[in-house]
Symmetry: C2
Subunit: 316 residues, 2 copies
């Protein structure tokens, strides 16, 4: 069976032909015109889907379903884009438009973090789990949640916004304007701010040297910590604890079999994930009476978006 | 159709005959011997079920199902009591024992907060909702969650422990020993501690007079605030904000159609619920693009436990 997964971004749109086992058989990427005019993206997506099918020598009639991952708010059941910070689309019935345009009946859409958790749970790090949570540590902090084998979306698909969970009273300001949100402590952006503050306070820290050479980013503190820099080590330890706090909340609420960590920061692998595992096992309520919640890095990497989107259209 | 709902407590066990519309047709209560010996409760429950059926003139063969609400940790799918602070039962296959004892096949068990949200969502304040959250403000803070029309229980039914969600870094210590948990800010116990601290700091506050007359409890600050006492008003306002913080987190994660507030404090009605509604509407992410999350008081009152337990055994 052939599915097409489309990973929509502010800068580019990626599409892939995906089989029912989550294998990506072909990929294609285009630059998105979305920043100029949101509606242009609709044609971009339709053309990309036609192109990738043609270059794989199948007709759209051979496609069993198309899934779209969108980097913003989506009303899944209605197939409607609600709004997005980076792409100027408000209340657009994207699924209806594409169904008409392409003649494919099974088209689904969801938020990109929802797609990612679905892809990782069906075909990646969380394979076999009935309950799972994925967080993506990037510019923001995205969360996707599977409960009883199904995506948790909430009324009007407005849920699963775990980045905006309050973990502190007061504290740094989130992208949404509120204070104390998980995203403001545990996103890559938050880590960079924490790194910068520590660098300014400790000009002697190796982080300053590394940042001057490679630029300041989410790797700076990790790189310096691995080389024995104490200030960097404290930054990393505290940052991991912040991530852990949110994961413990997910553990207490969802008690999933597995929590997966994705996004740029997750490339730190065991260095990040092992202490997170300890923190979660130690702090989730009832851990001593129940099976351990596994904490692992996501495994689908760059293809997560495509595979996740495609899996929206599968019977799962 | 006849169901029997059993509401198990540390001090008493209540049972009720409940029809398929959630009406309680008959009720009976016994004092629990559980504090002496946990296993005695098994016979108590079996006898209570036999008694109430007999006194309603039906045989157990006429009973379509029995549901048990347990005030502790339960492994629902296995029908097993895992542990409990107040009743000395560890890893007891309660459903299996009762099935053998009573000859009724459809026996289900869950945590009492799970029962409450199920009862309220099927037959009470949340009727018709596909996604709902109930918090009970009592000695502790219980949470029950419905996602896509089903109870959220998590792996080994260890989830839905929203009282142990961290809403602050540091802060007061929770019953479980950790700091900054929702329960330590928003339970009735927490309100009493907040009231007491304000009374000590402000001997002139009306709360002192009220507490001396009626005893200090979860009503003290509300009663004084309603009579114009400024210190009490500040206690109540802050307490409501604490409750709201957790509700906003539930809103962001589950985006339910409705959040219900139960337990002793919920008797404050609109005085409590209206400001909570404002706080939730103002602070849940994406509120302006999506239907309002309703915040209401639970309505089943003392029968919630029985109706909720009975509904476990219904096809819903």
């Amino acid at each position: 069976m052939y599915y097409i997964g489309v990973d929509i971004g502010g800068m580019s749109i990626k599409a892939g032909i995906v089989d029912e086992n989550g294998n990506v058989l072909k990929k294609q990427t285009i630059i998105s015109e979305a920043e100029k005019d949101g509606l242009l993206i609709v044609n971009d997506i339709a053309n990309l889907i036609r192109d990738i099918a043609a270059s794989f020598s199948i007709s759209l009639a051979d496609v069993d379903g198309i899934g779209l991952g969108f980097p913003g708010s989506v009303y899944d059941e209605k197939g409607e884009v609600v709004y997005c910070c980076n792409i100027n689309l408000v209340k657009i019935p994207l699924v209806k438009i594409l169904t008409k345009e392409l003649g494919v009946k099974n088209i689904k859409i969801s938020n990109d973090a929802n797609c990612a958790v679905l892809g990782e749970t069906l075909f990646g790090a969380g394979k076999g789990a009935k309950n799972s949570v994925l967080i993506t540590l990037g510019t923001g902090l995205g969360t996707g949640i599977i409960v009883n084998g199904k995506l948790l979306t909430g009324n009007h698909s407005a849920g699963a916004e775990g980045g905006h969970m309050q973990i502190n009273i007061g504290g740094p300001t989130c992208g949404c304007g509120a204070k104390g949100h998980y995203e403001a402590y545990a996103s890559a952006t938050a880590l960079i701010a924490q790194t910068k503050a520590a660098m300014e306070k400790h000009p002697e820290s190796l982080m300053n040297e590394i940042a001057q050479k490679d630029g300041l980013d989410g790797k700076t503190a990790f790189t310096a910590a691995k080389q024995g820099d104490k200030v960097a080590n404290a930054v990393v330890k505290r940052y991991i604890k912040y991530i852990g706090m949110g994961l413990v909340n997910f553990g207490n609420l969802f008690y999933p079999e597995i929590i997966m960590v994705g996004g740029g920061i997750s490339k730190e692998g065991d260095y990040l994930v092992k202490p997170l595992q300890r923190y979660v096992s130690r702090n989730v309520y009832g851990s001593m009476y129940n099976p351990k919640i596994k904490v692992v890095a996501a495994t689908l990497g760059n293809d997560a978006g495509i595979i996740g989107a495609a899996s929206l259209a599968m019977k799962y």
